[in-house]
């Protein structure tokens, strides 16, 4: 609220989070950093200044590695991080529909934030969007934010400039605000690039001025918000109400040792396991999914099969029921058991899929369900033979038709045998023996 006599106090959690983030982004940490006041008047800034870090941010000079999704061409990218600094949030302005008044919500004013500034390394909208997605992944992996753009837990402004091929100097940069999703980041940047390129091609490149533009989601374009006449003078000076932040090497080491395996490391590890890029990107995207996958593997499951089950049936179930992988009742150990049971032939693949849905919804053990429902695959040729004989004998007309040339009826017979066996017959064996019998070979 910026009340008279009120003083700021540093929230130690933000230091912990800043160090985690700085390390995860491969930055150099400033063991001695300080706060500064950034001064300007605005209704959402109760003190008339924002506590931030100006010249000595807590982390500098890092990078992120990421892989572009295959549908966008794939490929590895490395983008530089200029700095990570701590600052306090301002309030939130809510403008009335007709513009008669605005309301100021000060609930979040003073809450600490981490601001991440990238090097101008991206060249397309998708690169920037993927960069943002990777940051979201990292902060979720670190447990320092839920990274939800819709909630404002992750916010993004971009600066875009273009220059003629061969020119080393950057062109005039334009800031774009009001980007609320990764796809808006992507589209806004691509729009702005083409807007600036068009002006260039028309010989009107001087119309590209340093300004702030708003992305209009509805119209899918950027519009002028306010023109910047030169740089604002924020009259920075060191914040006298907060002491310096001093990080000891022991503190940094303890945080470093507590970091989880980060997305990039995970992707490289999955790649080494032989998984395809598509699988890698899916599995490493959500830390919980990756953990689940790793747990399934450590229970002995085959890598590719585990990946397939998770990416296929399980993912579909989660999507349908709108659940996260932490909510499903199937444990990684049981998934491994399921995979092993199918691989060993104990149950058929079809049965496997059936009990999967029950396991997902209600839990339980694979072994338990197999026993309870008597699902063990029938793989004894004699037994299958007997069932086939029974079906054939009960359907003489179809047998005649088959022998008369309607070979498609094999499916009918197979279906009937399956039904008789309550789905437990080994399909491969069934069809082999069935074919023999239908053709009168046994």
């Amino acid at each position: 609220m910026g009340l008279p006599g009120a003083l700021p106090v540093l929230n130690s959690k933000v230091i912990e989070f800043a160090v985690k983030l700085g390390l995860a982004l491969n930055c150099k940490l400033s063991l001695n950093s300080k706060f500064d006041r950034k001064q300007y008047f605005y209704p959402d800034l109760p003190k008339g200044y924002q506590i931030s870090q100006f010249d000595i941010p807590i982390a500098t000079g890092g990078y992120v590695d990421l892989d572009l999704p295959l549908e966008f061409g794939g490929g590895h990218r490395k983008f530089g991080i200029t700095r990570v600094h701590i600052e306090e949030d301002a309030g939130k302005l809510l403008h009335s529909g007709n513009g008669d008044y605005s309301q100021v919500d000060l609930n979040r004013a003073g809450v600490p934030l981490l601001e991440i500034v990238s090097e101008p390394d991206m060249r397309t909208g998708i690169e920037a969007a993927e960069y943002a997605a990777e940051l979201q992944r990292v902060v979720r992996y670190l447990g320092i934010s839920n990274g939800n753009m819709q909630e404002g837990s992750l916010r993004c402004d971009v600066n875009v400039s273009i220059r003629p091929v061969g020119q080393s100097e950057f062109g005039t940069k334009v800031e774009i605000k009001n980007l609320n999703s990764f796809s808006s980041i992507n589209r806004a940047i691509d729009f702005e690039i083409s807007r600036q390129a068009l002006l260039h091609s028309q010989g009107q490149s001087d119309q590209i001025v340093q300004e702030t533009r708003l992305w209009e989601e509805g119209a899918q374009k950027t519009v002028t918000m306010r023109k910047k006449e030169g740089l604002s003078d924020y009259r920075y000076f060191p914040e006298p109400d907060l002491p310096e932040v001093i990080l000891t090497p022991e503190y940094v080491d303890s945080i470093s040792n507590s970091l989880p395996e980060l997305p990039e490391a995970k992707r490289r590890r999955y790649e080494k396991m032989g998984l395809s890029m598509q699988d890698v990107l899916f599995l490493a995207n959500d830390m919980n999914v990756a953990e689940y996958f790793d747990a399934t593997l450590s229970s002995g499951a085959d890598i590719k099969l585990a990946a397939n089950w998770i990416m296929g049936d399980i993912a579909a179930y989660m999507k349908n029921e709108k659940l996260s992988i932490n909510d499903i009742k199937l444990t990684p150990q049981e998934l491994a058991e399921l995979i092993a049971s199918i691989k060993s032939g104990t149950i058929s693949g079809k049965i496997g899929k059936e009990i999967l849905s029950e396991l997902l919804a209600k839990g339980g053990t694979v072994k338990g369900l197999i026993e309870e429902k008597d699902l063990i695959q029938i793989a004894d040729p004699v037994e299958i033979g007997k069932m086939i004989d029974k079906v054939i004998s009960e359907n003489p007309k179809q047998l005649e038709q088959y022998r008369g040339g309607k070979t498609k009826l094999q499916g009918f017979f197979a279906g009937q045998v399956m039904k008789l066996s309550k789905g437990k017959a080994n399909p491969g064996l069934l069809n082999k023996i069935l074919l023999e019998k239908l053709n009168g070979q046994s």
């Binding site: 009340l3 008279p4 003083l7 003190k47 009259r235 920075y236 907060l242």
Partner: protein
């Protein structure tokens, strides 16, 4: 607090009084004398009050009545207070103390002690204006930590005292609301910026009071009003609840009619506060246990103590009255056994300009929050910038405006290195020179 605009109009020759033991208030001869019971001048009023209350020689209500009566009689002449507590509430607090004593319950060490608070220190149950129109009628939702600590120890807050607006000034004339007179001579100023706090103790309207000191605002009015004023080391007392002027220099300080009272008050409010990140974590020693009354001291109690007299403070250019006051104090110290040595602090002249840059810069920032939007006086306007401009133009006095302008300029782009940073470096130089001087004196 040193002022640039207003030369001290009334201070052509201020007589040196030294350490007065008599208590002659000739100017206010029509006022009632304070209850005679127990106050020997060189003892502690606070301890005497405690003694009298616990021994049932005096009730808190009687004591409070005598102070309130005195306040009522003297106030129209000296105008120390911007807000006086409701007498009924005050008497009720006193009554509660008496009841507890009757029931043999414990009461705090400051029980029954009437205290006045400078109006730039937040009190939740009374307006806190900082001496400014922009905060006219403002009621804080919290007590300053120093105030809370006093109340927890049983003190009774009798009112909020007048000051130069936001602590900027050295005569208390820069208050938006009224002018306070010096109780010793109503035609003279009480000093500033804590003029009201100093004068109210001087006029015995209260036992002790709190003020604030950024560039002398407790020390100077104490001298003008003939009371003891103590500026603690920065960080010793929490600044939470003190309306910030210069964050790296502000402290809350104490006024009393004796050294002991001032010390007891300081002890009560000292110590680390988690709400103030600049408050010191160093332990607060009980210095009150080391007080020795003057009457029981041997003849040269400060024997062997080495004191440096900074030549630059008595050089050419210093008013002769000030010079003789300093030299008189030096002579007194020598009488008490000190060894006085003249020393030179070459960087002395850096102090004032560095102070002005630092204080104006920080205050220009600290006063940005007074925009009329969330609290205080709001000018009516249809447009945001006009709202800011009108509220601040109407709400702030000229001294405040000048400092905001100076500070904004000093911090503006391109000037930070030349002014603020330089000033901080001067501060460091002064600190180091002072320190090395002291080390040389000790060795």
């Amino acid at each position: 607090m040193l002022s640039t605009i207003q030369p001290p109009r009334y201070l052509s020759r201020f007589p040196l009084r030294g350490r007065t033991k008599s208590r002659s208030f000739h100017i206010l001869s029509s006022a009632q004398p304070v209850t005679k019971t127990c106050f020997a001048a060189d003892q502690s009023q606070i301890l005497s009050i405690r003694d009298s209350l616990l021994n049932r020689h005096l009730s808190a209500v009687e004591l409070t009545h005598s102070y309130l009566d005195r306040l009522k009689q003297t106030e129209p002449h000296i105008n120390c207070f911007l807000h006086v507590s409701d007498p009924d509430k005050v008497l009720k607090q006193a009554q509660d103390i008496d009841d507890k004593i009757k029931r043999n319950e414990e009461v705090g060490p400051l029980a029954g002690v009437l205290v006045a608070i400078k109006d730039n220190i937040c009190t939740a149950d009374m307006p806190s204006t900082g001496g400014s129109y922009i905060l006219e009628g403002y009621r804080p939702p919290f007590d300053a930590t120093a105030v809370k600590r006093l109340k927890d120890l049983g003190a009774i807050v009798v009112g909020k005292t007048n000051l130069d607006e936001f602590g900027m000034g050295s005569t208390t004339e820069a208050s938006a609301f009224k002018v306070t007179a010096n109780p010793w001579d109503l035609s003279r100023v009480p000093g500033g910026s804590s003029g009201g706090s100093a004068a109210s103790v001087s006029a015995r309207q209260c036992v002790v009071s709190l003020g604030s000191d950024t560039g002398g605002s407790v020390r100077q009015p104490a001298s003008f009003c003939g009371v003891v004023g103590l500026k603690p080391t920065y960080g010793r007392v929490s600044r939470f609840g003190l309306m910030a002027y210069a964050s790296s220099l502000d402290v809350i300080g104490c006024f009393g009619s004796s050294v002991a009272d001032t010390g007891i008050l300081l002890h009560a409010i000292s110590g680390h506060d988690s709400l103030d990140a600049t408050s010191s974590k160093r332990e607060v020693p009980d210095f009150t246990s080391q007080f020795t009354y003057a009457s029981s001291l041997k003849s040269r109690p400060l024997e062997g103590l080495r004191v440096g007299l900074i030549r630059e403070t008595v050089d050419a250019g210093v008013d002769s009255g000030v010079k003789s006051a300093i030299e008189g104090a030096a002579a007194h110290l020598e009488q008490l056994g000190c060894v006085l040595k003249e020393v030179s602090l070459l960087s002395f002249s850096l102090g004032l300009p560095a102070y002005y840059i630092l204080a104006s810069s920080e205050s220009s920032s600290n006063l940005s929050r007074y925009d009329g939007v969330r609290y205080g006086n709001q000018a009516s306007s249809d447009e945001l910038n006009a709202l800011y401009e009108e509220s601040r133009a109407k709400g702030f006095g000229s001294e405040v405006k000048m400092r905001i302008l100076m500070g904004t300029y000093a911090l503006s782009a391109g000037y930070y290195d030349a002014y603020y940073k330089r000033a901080q470096q001067c501060q460091e130089i002064l600190f180091l020179s002072d320190h090395s001087l002291l080390r040389r004196l000790w060795s």
